[in-house]
Symmetry: C2
Subunit: 222 residues, 2 copies
Protein backbone atom coordinates (compact mmCIF):
# COMPACT_ATOMS: atom_id res chain seq x y z
CA UNK A 1 0.00 0.00 0.00
CA UNK A 2 2.86 2.31 0.92
CA UNK A 3 4.41 1.93 -2.54
CA UNK A 4 1.09 2.57 -4.30
CA UNK A 5 0.57 5.77 -2.33
CA UNK A 6 4.17 6.84 -2.94
CA UNK A 7 3.55 6.38 -6.68
CA UNK A 8 0.43 8.53 -6.42
CA UNK A 9 2.34 11.19 -4.48
CA UNK A 10 5.08 11.22 -7.13
CA UNK A 11 2.51 11.36 -9.96
CA UNK A 12 0.77 14.32 -8.33
CA UNK A 13 4.18 15.94 -7.82
CA UNK A 14 5.09 15.43 -11.48
CA UNK A 15 1.89 17.17 -12.57
CA UNK A 16 2.82 20.19 -10.43
CA UNK A 17 6.37 20.07 -11.80
CA UNK A 18 4.96 20.31 -15.35
CA UNK A 19 2.85 23.24 -14.20
CA UNK A 20 5.99 24.92 -12.81
CA UNK A 21 7.87 24.37 -16.07
CA UNK A 22 5.03 26.01 -18.00
CA UNK A 23 4.96 28.91 -15.53
CA UNK A 24 8.73 29.44 -15.83
CA UNK A 25 8.59 29.21 -19.62
CA UNK A 26 5.85 31.83 -19.70
CA UNK A 27 7.93 34.27 -17.66
CA UNK A 28 11.25 33.27 -19.28
CA UNK A 29 12.97 32.28 -16.02
CA UNK A 30 15.66 29.65 -15.46
CA UNK A 31 15.17 27.71 -12.20
CA UNK A 32 18.11 26.02 -10.48
CA UNK A 33 17.68 23.56 -7.59
CA UNK A 34 20.59 23.45 -5.10
CA UNK A 35 20.77 20.13 -3.22
CA UNK A 36 23.25 19.08 -0.53
CA UNK A 37 23.64 17.91 3.07
CA UNK A 38 22.85 20.15 6.04
CA UNK A 39 25.92 22.36 6.38
CA UNK A 40 27.28 21.64 2.89
CA UNK A 41 27.45 25.40 2.38
CA UNK A 42 24.45 25.94 0.09
CA UNK A 43 23.50 29.29 1.62
CA UNK A 44 27.10 30.54 1.64
CA UNK A 45 27.45 29.49 -2.02
CA UNK A 46 24.25 31.41 -2.80
CA UNK A 47 25.46 34.52 -0.94
CA UNK A 48 28.71 34.54 -2.92
CA UNK A 49 26.91 33.74 -6.18
CA UNK A 50 24.37 36.55 -5.76
CA UNK A 51 27.19 39.06 -5.16
CA UNK A 52 28.90 38.02 -8.38
CA UNK A 53 25.74 37.86 -10.50
CA UNK A 54 24.94 41.54 -9.85
CA UNK A 55 24.79 43.37 -13.18
CA UNK A 56 24.79 40.03 -15.02
CA UNK A 57 21.53 38.26 -14.11
CA UNK A 58 18.48 39.33 -12.10
CA UNK A 59 18.08 36.66 -9.43
CA UNK A 60 15.46 35.56 -6.92
CA UNK A 61 15.68 32.87 -4.24
CA UNK A 62 13.28 30.30 -2.80
CA UNK A 63 14.55 29.01 0.57
CA UNK A 64 13.47 25.59 1.80
CA UNK A 65 13.83 24.79 5.50
CA UNK A 66 12.24 22.55 8.09
CA UNK A 67 12.10 25.40 10.59
CA UNK A 68 13.41 28.99 10.98
CA UNK A 69 13.88 31.79 8.42
CA UNK A 70 17.63 32.11 9.08
CA UNK A 71 18.76 31.37 5.54
CA UNK A 72 16.14 33.69 4.02
CA UNK A 73 17.36 36.50 6.30
CA UNK A 74 20.93 35.94 5.09
CA UNK A 75 19.77 36.15 1.46
CA UNK A 76 17.66 39.25 2.12
CA UNK A 77 20.83 41.05 3.24
CA UNK A 78 22.11 40.64 -0.32
CA UNK A 79 19.17 42.76 -1.53
CA UNK A 80 17.65 39.85 -3.43
CA UNK A 81 13.93 38.93 -3.33
CA UNK A 82 13.47 35.74 -1.31
CA UNK A 83 10.53 33.50 -0.39
CA UNK A 84 10.78 31.14 2.59
CA UNK A 85 9.11 27.71 2.59
CA UNK A 86 9.03 25.96 5.98
CA UNK A 87 8.13 22.32 5.50
CA UNK A 88 7.65 21.49 9.20
CA UNK A 89 8.48 17.80 9.08
CA UNK A 90 8.93 17.11 5.34
CA UNK A 91 12.53 16.34 4.39
CA UNK A 92 12.29 17.73 0.83
CA UNK A 93 10.56 20.40 -1.24
CA UNK A 94 7.80 19.27 -3.58
CA UNK A 95 6.58 20.89 -6.77
CA UNK A 96 3.32 22.10 -5.25
CA UNK A 97 5.10 24.04 -2.47
CA UNK A 98 7.52 25.49 -5.01
CA UNK A 99 4.60 26.53 -7.24
CA UNK A 100 3.22 28.67 -4.42
CA UNK A 101 6.65 30.21 -3.85
CA UNK A 102 7.20 31.01 -7.55
CA UNK A 103 3.84 32.79 -7.65
CA UNK A 104 4.61 34.66 -4.45
CA UNK A 105 8.07 35.83 -5.48
CA UNK A 106 7.20 36.73 -9.08
CA UNK A 107 5.61 40.11 -8.47
CA UNK A 108 6.98 43.19 -10.14
CA UNK A 109 10.49 41.83 -10.66
CA UNK A 110 11.34 40.18 -13.99
CA UNK A 111 13.81 37.45 -13.02
CA UNK A 112 16.44 35.83 -15.21
CA UNK A 113 17.11 33.09 -12.70
CA UNK A 114 15.47 31.66 -9.57
CA UNK A 115 17.59 29.63 -7.19
CA UNK A 116 15.84 27.09 -4.99
CA UNK A 117 17.78 26.04 -1.90
CA UNK A 118 16.32 22.66 -1.04
CA UNK A 119 16.12 21.10 2.46
CA UNK A 120 19.55 19.94 3.65
CA UNK A 121 19.35 16.27 2.65
CA UNK A 122 21.11 14.10 0.04
CA UNK A 123 18.23 11.64 -0.38
CA UNK A 124 14.62 12.73 -0.99
CA UNK A 125 15.20 16.15 -2.60
CA UNK A 126 16.72 14.25 -5.55
CA UNK A 127 13.56 12.13 -5.87
CA UNK A 128 11.14 15.05 -6.23
CA UNK A 129 11.12 16.93 -9.54
CA UNK A 130 10.14 20.52 -8.73
CA UNK A 131 10.10 21.64 -12.37
CA UNK A 132 13.66 22.99 -12.23
CA UNK A 133 15.86 23.23 -15.33
CA UNK A 134 18.93 21.99 -13.45
CA UNK A 135 19.76 20.25 -10.20
CA UNK A 136 23.11 21.32 -8.73
CA UNK A 137 24.81 18.95 -6.27
CA UNK A 138 26.66 20.78 -3.47
CA UNK A 139 29.23 18.72 -1.55
CA UNK A 140 31.70 20.05 1.02
CA UNK A 141 35.19 18.60 1.41
CA UNK A 142 34.54 18.22 5.15
CA UNK A 143 31.79 15.65 4.45
CA UNK A 144 34.18 13.14 2.89
CA UNK A 145 34.73 11.90 -0.65
CA UNK A 146 32.65 8.72 -0.12
CA UNK A 147 29.34 10.60 -0.24
CA UNK A 148 29.05 10.51 -4.05
CA UNK A 149 28.93 6.73 -4.15
CA UNK A 150 26.77 6.51 -1.01
CA UNK A 151 24.04 8.85 -2.31
CA UNK A 152 24.11 8.07 -6.05
CA UNK A 153 20.74 9.42 -7.26
CA UNK A 154 21.53 13.11 -6.73
CA UNK A 155 24.99 12.90 -8.28
CA UNK A 156 23.74 10.99 -11.33
CA UNK A 157 21.06 13.64 -11.99
CA UNK A 158 23.17 16.74 -11.29
CA UNK A 159 23.84 19.25 -14.09
CA UNK A 160 26.92 20.34 -12.11
CA UNK A 161 28.80 19.38 -8.96
CA UNK A 162 30.04 22.20 -6.73
CA UNK A 163 32.68 21.10 -4.21
CA UNK A 164 32.66 23.64 -1.37
CA UNK A 165 34.82 24.65 1.65
CA UNK A 166 37.98 24.19 -0.43
CA UNK A 167 39.96 26.33 2.06
CA UNK A 168 39.56 23.44 4.54
CA UNK A 169 40.65 20.80 2.02
CA UNK A 170 44.20 20.58 3.37
CA UNK A 171 42.90 19.67 6.83
CA UNK A 172 40.72 16.78 5.61
CA UNK A 173 41.32 13.40 3.96
CA UNK A 174 38.99 14.32 1.05
CA UNK A 175 40.61 12.96 -2.14
CA UNK A 176 39.70 15.24 -5.05
CA UNK A 177 40.93 12.77 -7.68
CA UNK A 178 38.89 9.96 -6.16
CA UNK A 179 35.77 12.15 -5.92
CA UNK A 180 36.12 12.94 -9.62
CA UNK A 181 36.43 9.25 -10.52
CA UNK A 182 33.36 8.39 -8.41
CA UNK A 183 31.37 11.26 -9.91
CA UNK A 184 32.26 10.30 -13.49
CA UNK A 185 31.02 6.73 -12.89
CA UNK A 186 27.55 8.21 -12.23
CA UNK A 187 27.70 11.31 -14.38
CA UNK A 188 29.77 11.36 -17.57
CA UNK A 189 29.64 15.04 -18.44
CA UNK A 190 28.49 17.48 -15.75
CA UNK A 191 31.17 20.06 -14.88
CA UNK A 192 32.83 20.09 -11.44
CA UNK A 193 33.50 23.41 -9.71
CA UNK A 194 35.76 23.78 -6.68
CA UNK A 195 34.98 26.83 -4.58
CA UNK A 196 35.47 28.43 -1.22
CA UNK A 197 32.46 30.67 -0.74
CA UNK A 198 33.77 32.57 2.29
CA UNK A 199 37.07 33.39 0.59
CA UNK A 200 35.46 33.86 -2.83
CA UNK A 201 37.81 31.35 -4.45
CA UNK A 202 36.90 29.49 -7.64
CA UNK A 203 33.88 31.65 -8.27
CA UNK A 204 34.47 32.79 -11.87
CA UNK A 205 33.99 29.47 -13.74
CA UNK A 206 30.84 28.80 -11.69
CA UNK A 207 29.38 32.22 -12.50
CA UNK A 208 30.23 31.75 -16.19
CA UNK A 209 28.48 28.38 -16.10
CA UNK A 210 25.31 29.96 -14.67
CA UNK A 211 25.36 32.81 -17.18
CA UNK A 212 25.85 30.48 -20.13
CA UNK A 213 23.21 28.05 -18.83
CA UNK A 214 20.81 31.02 -18.71
CA UNK A 215 21.79 32.01 -22.25
CA UNK A 216 21.32 28.46 -23.60
CA UNK A 217 18.07 28.15 -21.71
CA UNK A 218 16.74 31.34 -23.25
CA UNK A 219 17.07 29.72 -26.68
CA UNK A 220 16.14 26.18 -25.77
CA UNK A 221 14.48 25.38 -22.47
CA UNK A 222 12.60 28.55 -21.69
Amino acid sequence: MEIKVMNKVLAANDAWAQENRALLKKSGVLMVNLIGSPGAGKTALLEMTLEHLKGKLVAGVIEGDIATTRDAERIQKKGVPVCQINTGTACHLDANLVNGAINQISGEVKFDIIFVENIGNLVCPAEFDIGEHAKIAVLSVTEGDDKIEKYPLLFSQARALVITKMALHGFTNFDLARSQVEFRKLNPSAPIFKVDSLKGEGVEPWIQFLVSMRRDAAGQII
Copy 2:
Protein backbone atom coordinates in the same frame (compact mmCIF):
# COMPACT_ATOMS: atom_id res chain seq x y z
CA MET B 1 -4.85 10.79 2.12
CA GLU B 2 -1.10 11.21 2.39
CA ILE B 3 -1.37 12.12 6.09
CA LYS B 4 -3.66 9.17 6.82
CA VAL B 5 -1.23 6.77 5.21
CA MET B 6 1.72 8.40 7.00
CA ASN B 7 -0.11 7.85 10.30
CA LYS B 8 -0.65 4.20 9.39
CA VAL B 9 3.02 3.83 8.46
CA LEU B 10 4.08 5.37 11.78
CA ALA B 11 1.60 3.16 13.72
CA ALA B 12 2.98 0.04 12.02
CA ASN B 13 6.50 1.28 12.76
CA ASP B 14 5.65 1.83 16.43
CA ALA B 15 4.40 -1.76 16.72
CA TRP B 16 7.73 -3.01 15.35
CA ALA B 17 9.59 -0.66 17.70
CA GLN B 18 7.76 -2.25 20.66
CA GLU B 19 8.72 -5.65 19.30
CA ASN B 20 12.38 -4.53 19.14
CA ARG B 21 12.27 -3.25 22.72
CA ALA B 22 10.92 -6.63 23.88
CA LEU B 23 13.60 -8.44 21.90
CA LEU B 24 16.39 -6.27 23.37
CA LYS B 25 14.99 -6.67 26.89
CA LYS B 26 14.95 -10.45 26.48
CA SER B 27 18.61 -10.50 25.45
CA GLY B 28 19.63 -7.71 27.86
CA VAL B 29 21.08 -5.42 25.17
CA LEU B 30 21.24 -1.62 25.12
CA MET B 31 20.55 -0.15 21.66
CA VAL B 32 21.86 3.29 20.70
CA ASN B 33 20.75 5.12 17.54
CA LEU B 34 23.36 7.50 16.02
CA ILE B 35 21.77 10.23 13.90
CA GLY B 36 23.49 13.02 11.97
CA SER B 37 24.03 14.56 8.53
CA PRO B 38 25.93 12.79 5.77
CA GLY B 39 29.57 13.37 6.65
CA ALA B 40 28.94 14.38 10.28
CA GLY B 41 31.48 11.74 11.27
CA LYS B 42 29.18 9.01 12.60
CA THR B 43 31.31 6.13 11.28
CA ALA B 44 34.56 7.72 12.49
CA LEU B 45 32.98 8.25 15.93
CA LEU B 46 31.94 4.59 15.95
CA GLU B 47 35.42 3.42 14.94
CA MET B 48 37.00 5.40 17.78
CA THR B 49 34.29 4.33 20.24
CA LEU B 50 34.65 0.62 19.41
CA GLU B 51 38.44 0.85 20.01
CA HIS B 52 37.89 2.36 23.45
CA LEU B 53 35.04 0.03 24.47
CA LYS B 54 37.23 -3.06 24.07
CA GLY B 55 37.37 -4.89 27.40
CA LYS B 56 34.54 -2.74 28.73
CA LEU B 57 31.43 -3.59 26.66
CA VAL B 58 30.75 -6.21 24.00
CA ALA B 59 29.46 -4.23 21.01
CA GLY B 60 27.71 -4.93 17.72
CA VAL B 61 26.82 -2.52 14.91
CA ILE B 62 23.90 -2.15 12.51
CA GLU B 63 24.86 0.06 9.56
CA GLY B 64 22.17 1.92 7.63
CA ASP B 65 22.98 3.20 4.15
CA ILE B 66 21.17 4.05 0.94
CA ALA B 67 23.77 2.21 -1.11
CA THR B 68 27.22 0.59 -0.65
CA THR B 69 28.69 -1.41 2.26
CA ARG B 70 31.59 1.00 2.80
CA ASP B 71 30.77 1.87 6.41
CA ALA B 72 30.16 -1.78 7.34
CA GLU B 73 33.58 -2.66 5.90
CA ARG B 74 35.20 0.03 8.04
CA ILE B 75 33.48 -1.36 11.16
CA GLN B 76 34.42 -4.95 10.29
CA LYS B 77 38.09 -3.94 10.40
CA LYS B 78 37.60 -3.20 14.11
CA GLY B 79 36.74 -6.88 14.63
CA VAL B 80 33.16 -6.07 15.62
CA PRO B 81 30.09 -7.95 14.28
CA VAL B 82 28.20 -5.75 11.83
CA CYS B 83 25.00 -6.04 9.81
CA GLN B 84 24.43 -3.81 6.78
CA ILE B 85 20.97 -2.49 5.86
CA ASN B 86 20.74 -0.87 2.40
CA THR B 87 17.49 1.07 2.14
CA GLY B 88 17.73 1.77 -1.61
CA THR B 89 15.70 4.99 -1.71
CA ALA B 90 14.42 5.33 1.88
CA CYS B 91 15.98 8.23 3.77
CA HIS B 92 15.71 6.63 7.23
CA LEU B 93 15.77 3.28 9.00
CA ASP B 94 12.47 1.91 10.24
CA ALA B 95 11.81 -0.49 13.11
CA ASN B 96 10.93 -3.40 10.83
CA LEU B 97 14.28 -3.21 8.98
CA VAL B 98 16.12 -2.93 12.29
CA ASN B 99 14.23 -5.94 13.65
CA GLY B 100 15.62 -8.07 10.84
CA ALA B 101 19.12 -6.76 11.52
CA ILE B 102 18.93 -7.42 15.29
CA ASN B 103 17.90 -10.99 14.59
CA GLN B 104 20.64 -11.41 12.03
CA ILE B 105 23.43 -10.00 14.18
CA SER B 106 22.38 -11.71 17.43
CA GLY B 107 23.82 -15.13 16.81
CA GLU B 108 26.35 -16.62 19.15
CA VAL B 109 27.60 -13.29 20.54
CA LYS B 110 26.04 -11.94 23.74
CA PHE B 111 26.10 -8.17 23.23
CA ASP B 112 26.07 -5.47 25.90
CA ILE B 113 25.38 -2.74 23.37
CA ILE B 114 24.26 -2.47 19.75
CA PHE B 115 24.98 0.75 17.88
CA VAL B 116 22.74 1.64 14.96
CA GLU B 117 24.23 4.10 12.50
CA ASN B 118 21.19 5.65 10.83
CA ILE B 119 21.04 7.05 7.27
CA GLY B 120 22.89 10.39 7.02
CA ASN B 121 19.93 12.74 7.44
CA LEU B 122 18.82 15.20 10.16
CA VAL B 123 15.10 14.93 9.41
CA CYS B 124 13.27 11.61 9.04
CA PRO B 125 15.52 9.34 11.16
CA ALA B 126 14.34 11.39 14.17
CA GLU B 127 10.69 10.70 13.26
CA PHE B 128 11.00 6.90 13.23
CA ASP B 129 11.28 5.13 16.60
CA ILE B 130 13.33 1.98 15.97
CA GLY B 131 12.98 0.71 19.53
CA GLU B 132 16.30 2.19 20.65
CA HIS B 133 16.99 3.16 24.26
CA ALA B 134 18.74 6.38 23.27
CA LYS B 135 19.08 8.59 20.21
CA ILE B 136 22.48 10.30 19.97
CA ALA B 137 22.72 13.47 17.85
CA VAL B 138 26.04 13.78 15.99
CA LEU B 139 26.91 17.25 14.69
CA SER B 140 30.24 18.31 13.15
CA VAL B 141 31.66 21.80 13.65
CA THR B 142 32.09 22.08 9.88
CA GLU B 143 28.29 21.96 9.40
CA GLY B 144 27.70 25.21 11.28
CA ASP B 145 26.13 26.05 14.64
CA ASP B 146 22.73 26.96 13.12
CA LYS B 147 21.80 23.32 12.48
CA ILE B 148 20.40 22.71 15.98
CA GLU B 149 17.70 25.34 15.57
CA LYS B 150 17.05 24.41 11.93
CA TYR B 151 16.46 20.69 12.62
CA PRO B 152 14.85 20.83 16.07
CA LEU B 153 13.19 17.40 16.39
CA LEU B 154 16.38 15.36 16.58
CA PHE B 155 18.08 17.70 19.05
CA SER B 156 15.03 17.83 21.33
CA GLN B 157 14.88 14.01 21.47
CA ALA B 158 18.60 13.31 21.83
CA ARG B 159 19.93 11.63 24.98
CA ALA B 160 23.31 13.20 24.18
CA LEU B 161 24.85 15.57 21.65
CA VAL B 162 28.27 14.67 20.25
CA ILE B 163 30.03 17.59 18.53
CA THR B 164 32.61 16.10 16.15
CA LYS B 165 35.63 17.24 14.08
CA MET B 166 36.81 19.47 16.93
CA ALA B 167 40.32 19.61 15.44
CA LEU B 168 38.81 21.71 12.62
CA HIS B 169 36.97 24.04 15.00
CA GLY B 170 39.58 26.80 14.76
CA PHE B 171 39.14 26.99 10.99
CA THR B 172 35.34 27.42 11.12
CA ASN B 173 32.92 30.05 12.44
CA PHE B 174 31.14 27.44 14.62
CA ASP B 175 30.32 29.14 17.93
CA LEU B 176 30.42 26.51 20.72
CA ALA B 177 28.73 28.80 23.26
CA ARG B 178 25.91 29.61 20.86
CA SER B 179 25.42 25.93 19.96
CA GLN B 180 25.09 25.14 23.66
CA VAL B 181 22.49 27.88 24.15
CA GLU B 182 20.49 26.66 21.14
CA PHE B 183 20.70 23.05 22.30
CA ARG B 184 19.56 23.92 25.84
CA LYS B 185 16.46 25.68 24.46
CA LEU B 186 15.38 22.34 22.98
CA ASN B 187 16.94 19.95 25.44
CA PRO B 188 17.41 20.94 29.08
CA SER B 189 19.60 18.11 30.32
CA ALA B 190 21.31 15.88 27.74
CA PRO B 191 25.11 15.99 28.04
CA ILE B 192 27.26 17.52 25.29
CA PHE B 193 30.51 15.82 24.27
CA LYS B 194 33.18 17.48 22.12
CA VAL B 195 35.37 15.02 20.29
CA ASP B 196 37.80 14.62 17.46
CA SER B 197 37.49 11.00 16.38
CA LEU B 198 40.57 10.92 14.13
CA LYS B 199 42.81 12.38 16.83
CA GLY B 200 41.02 10.51 19.64
CA GLU B 201 40.39 13.73 21.56
CA GLY B 202 37.56 14.05 24.09
CA VAL B 203 36.84 10.35 24.03
CA GLU B 204 36.92 9.50 27.76
CA PRO B 205 33.77 11.32 28.97
CA TRP B 206 31.85 9.89 26.00
CA ILE B 207 32.99 6.33 26.77
CA GLN B 208 32.12 6.79 30.45
CA PHE B 209 28.67 8.02 29.42
CA LEU B 210 28.08 4.89 27.32
CA VAL B 211 29.32 2.57 30.05
CA SER B 212 27.16 4.21 32.70
CA MET B 213 24.14 4.31 30.38
CA ARG B 214 24.63 0.55 29.91
CA ARG B 215 24.90 0.06 33.67
CA ASP B 216 21.75 2.12 34.38
CA ALA B 217 19.93 0.33 31.59
CA ALA B 218 20.79 -3.05 33.03
CA GLY B 219 18.86 -2.11 36.17
CA GLN B 220 16.07 -0.10 34.60
CA ILE B 221 15.46 -0.24 30.88
CA ILE B 222 16.63 -3.70 29.97
